[in-house]
């Protein structure tokens, strides 16, 4: 043993572990400044717009009481959470109830994207090799990335508080507005910590991103199940903590404490792993694979399937679990109703079908919109292949540009069908088992699968953007965001029909509450084919890479 290695205990020297953090921090803030600004302004405007429009649409407490009744159904509770206002469903209570769950998810997604982008993505691209070969502490990049994400969350929280606080509406006050911002901050830092941990475990950014986003979905699901069952399960979800503040109603701060503990825990573990592992390494070393390509891999479709296989299987499994969790408490809805005559009367009066099918229709729509995230991510694969330079060798063979894109599109189109089918199967199986009625399985599974053509339209938008404006591809996420708004708030915001028609999910009939209708599905498929053709035509004419 050499003197230099034995004189001091093993491990990195602490005093230098964070060297040069300041320079890196300024650099990271500069790179993220427009992104941070866009998130903060976008979320603040969208949030403030809700009470402002409700003041117009529902000026009296009687009218507000009607919305409160509409959002008391188990399906609405699963989607949005519990309405904590016992008296007047004032604008503060309505905003917190109907917006917090979705802006909470958005803040979580922002944190995950930004964290992975500044950690594992820098590393797997090879850029951090240059940085870490400079006098930069080994632990500095991770901590700097997290600080940057904290700044982004602070900016979002501040923007939310300021925009809401300055709205003049019954039930909205400054103390609530500050808590509203803080609740988002709590959600944001929780998922930043989680994503930082995933970035240590996964060797590539795609894996870290997928696992972190899946965790966001799981947090939402746990909160949904917990809120409907009322069994405290929601306390296991960061989104549940934010909603437990009962902001604008009771203004509780203590539910944010678990977020602080959770964040501290994940950051400490991530930092521990980061300080001890090789640069570029994950938790698992890459396994060797076959030396020869199989027959299937040598076809364009087989090649595309190979690239998409992991994501399809992962999403299908996750969606099966998500469906099963929803399905498992269908029975609870029955029993909830049994104890509440008013609710039952209200629902049976407004619709001719039972509450379970109404609930099923909403869950099917929600699941379809969530899974559309898969379609956008997987549909963007040709673009990431192009940017990484992997498209060039493929396109310089006898495979045409059209053939290459179509093989990806076909696999993603089939993939979305499989992922939806897995979710429908989950709801159907667990629902049938819990209620004891096996007619639920085919009806509920069909309801979910019926959304496949809507997914194809989303895919069409992605491919059209890929051909025409590849740098604008993130715009495809707006289709999902808009569809969310239409499903959740379309009725309350009284959006006009022509505007709702921009959500491909609206055209699909609300099975199992409504009966199956083929023409809209055929129309959606036709729109998808036209979009795909547009994208292909444009892709044939543009530069690669563009």
């Amino acid at each position: 043993m050499n003197a230099a290695t034995t004189a001091r205990p093993r491990g990195a020297r602490a005093s230098d572990a964070f060297a040069n953090s300041g320079t890196l921090f300024r650099f990271a803030l500069r790179r993220e400044r427009w992104s941070i600004l866009a998130w903060a302004i976008g979320l603040a405007l969208a949030t403030a717009a809700v009470p402002l429009s409700y003041v117009e649409l529902y000026p009296t407490s009687v009218e507000r009481g009607l919305i409160a009744q509409a959002v008391a159904s188990p399906a609405a509770v699963a989607m949005m959470g519990v309405n904590h206002a016992e008296g007047d469903y004032h604008y503060g209570a309505a905003t917190a109830h109907q917006m917090l769950f979705i802006t909470g998810i958005l803040v979580a997604v922002m944190s995950v994207l930004m964290t992975v982008r500044n950690t594992r993505q820098e590393e797997s691209s090879g850029r951090s090799e240059l940085v870490l070969a400079s006098p930069v502490g080994r632990r500095a990049p991770l901590i700097v990335a997290l600080l940057t994400v904290v700044v982004a969350n602070l900016a979002v929280a501040l923007a939310l508080s300021l925009s809401l606080g300055s709205v003049d509406a019954t039930g909205i006050d400054w103390s609530g507005a500050w808590l509203y911002g803080a609740a988002h901050l709590a959600v944001g830092i929780s998922f930043a910590g989680l994503a930082a941990l995933m970035a240590q475990l996964y060797e590539n950014a795609r894996g870290a991103l997928g696992a972190s986003l899946a965790a966001v979905g799981l947090a939402y699901l746990i909160r949904a199940v917990g809120d409907v069952a009322g069994n405290g399960l929601s306390w296991l979800s960061p989104l549940g903590w934010a909603q437990a503040t009962k902001v604008f109603v009771e203004d509780l701060w203590y539910p944010l404490l678990p977020a602080v503990v959770f964040t501290a825990f994940t950051v400490v573990v991530a930092d521990y792993l980061n300080a001890r592992r090789d640069v570029g390494a994950g938790l698992w070393a890459a396994r060797p694979g076959p030396a020869h390509a199989g027959r299937a891999l040598q076809t364009p479709i087989g090649f595309a399937w190979r690239l998409h296989r992991g994501a399809i299987l992962g999403w299908s499994a996750a969606n099966l679990v998500m469906g099963a969790m929803y399905g498992a408490f269908l029975n609870d809805i029955d029993s909830m109703l049994a104890g509440s005559d008013i609710l039952e009367r209200m629902f049976t009066a407004t619709t001719s079908v039972d509450l379970i099918t109404t609930f099923g229709a909403v869950i099917a729509a929600v699941m379809a919109v969530i899974v559309a995230a898969y379609v956008v991510m997987a549909g963007s694969r040709p673009r990431s292949e192009e940017v990484a330079g992997r498209a060039e060798p493929v396109l310089s063979t006898s495979l045409s540009r059209t053939g290459w894109v179509i093989s990806h599109a076909v696999v993603v189109a089939v993939g979305s069908l499989l992922v939806l089918a897995a979710g429908g199967l989950g709801i159907g199986l667990a629902g049938s088992a819990s209620v004891g009625d096996w007619s639920i399985l085919p009806r509920f599974a069909a309801a979910v699968v019926a959304y496949t053509p809507a997914h194809w339209v989303v895919l069409g938008v992605v491919i059209a953007l890929f051909g025409m404006a590849p740098r604008a591809m993130p715009v495809a996420w707006m289709v999902i965001g808009f569809s969310f708004v239409v499903i959740y708030l379309g009725d309350f915001l009284q959006l006009p029909a022509w505007l709702r028609a921009f959500s491909p999910f609206e055209a699909v009939s609300d099975m199992p509450a409504e009966s199956f209708s083929a023409p809209p599905l055929l129309a959606l498929t036709a729109v998808a084919v036209v979009l795909l053709a547009l994208g292909l035509a444009a892709f044939r004419r543009r530069d690669v890479p563009a």
Partner: protein, 306 residues
């Protein structure tokens, strides 16, 4: 002579794949040390361990008297690194990347930065995503050379550069050497190594199989001799140390082990030498010999020259 890099018995594996298997390496202060080996021999893994980016599984590593894993930051203040695959930030210009890396290293000499940008004919106003491989390498080279550190670790730094830039690079390395800097140069360009390296180490399958000054390594291998003699010299074929003997039209051609050179030439002269050409082995022959050897023999015949 002081030692800049001392590596003994270095071991590293990725999962079940063994990358380094007891590698020894020594680079003396002020020398240009060539680090050669076939693809996948463990060159880049070694360099990354020297930088403290990877953690060794076993063995000792001392760079500028420090442990690169524990003293990474202090060490990095005294060295500069150019990776084989340079990746830059897509939205940053080359000039910004140079300044960022320079700032991290504690500031760079502005005059020297300008001079290097001129010499390497680099446009510092282009964005990272628009640079070719060669231009990305220039950015990393300028950033590394502008800070005038004690040690330069270069991992195939010029694979994307044109011959003009290659010449400029060699000049920069000579200047660094004349200022007393140490350079560890991993390279596949043999002419570059022959022109620059004082000593070389040849690595194969995670072990150094030969090291020393290029001349000494040559001395240990065979010299090719071509000669025309008055009388047929076919009898030389049976002498010790003579290999691949061929005779045609009064001309003989053979390889001879360096230690038998004297005896063979004496014998040759008895046949009335008309012409005599003797060629030392090129670095390429030297490498091919080391690269192509089977596992078993490489362990038996490791070559070391002080």
């Amino acid at each position: 002579m002081a030692t800049a890099i001392a590596v003994e018995g270095l071991r590293k594996s990725y999962g079940s794949a063994l990358a380094l298997d007891g590698l020894d390496l020594e680079a003396r202060t002020g020398e240009v040390h060539g680090f050669l080996g076939p693809n996948g021999a463990g060159k880049t893994t070694t360099l990354r361990i020297l930088l403290g980016l990877l953690r060794a599984d076993g063995g000792t590593v001392t760079v500028l008297g420090m442990d690169p894993w524990r003293d990474a930051v202090a060490l990095h203040r005294r060295l500069a690194y150019v990776p084989g695959d340079v990746e830059l930030w897509p939205s940053l210009t080359g000039g910004e990347a140079i300044d960022l890396l320079g700032r991290l290293r504690g500031g760079i000499d502005g005059r020297r930065r300008e001079e290097l940008i001129q010499r390497f004919d680099l446009d510092p106003t282009k964005r990272g995503r628009t640079y070719s491989k060669g231009n990305r390498q220039k950015v990393a080279l300028v950033a590394a050379l502008a800070s005038d550190t004690e040690l330069l670790i270069l991992d195939e730094p010029t694979t994307g550069l044109d011959p003009l830039m290659e010449a400029e690079f060699q000049e920069c390395v000579r200047e660094a050497k004349s200022r007393g800097r140490t350079v560890l140069l991993s390279s596949h360009i043999l002419a570059q190594v022959e022109a620059l390296a004082d000593r070389i180490s040849i690595v194969r399958q995670g072990r150094v199989v030969a090291n020393g000054a290029l001349d000494d390594l040559r001395h240990l291998t065979r010299t090719t001799v071509v000669s025309r003699t008055e009388r047929p010299a076919d009898g030389l074929a049976g002498l010790p140390g003579v290999h691949d003997f061929r005779s045609q039209d009064g001309q003989v051609r053979f390889d001879v082990d360096s230690e038998h050179m004297g005896a063979v030439v004496t014998e040759l002269s008895r046949h009335g030498v008309l012409t005599l050409v003797s060629r030392p082995p090129t670095l390429e022959q030297l490498l091919l010999r080391h690269y192509a050897r089977s596992d078993a023999s490489s362990r038996d015949s490791d070559v070391t020259v002080a």
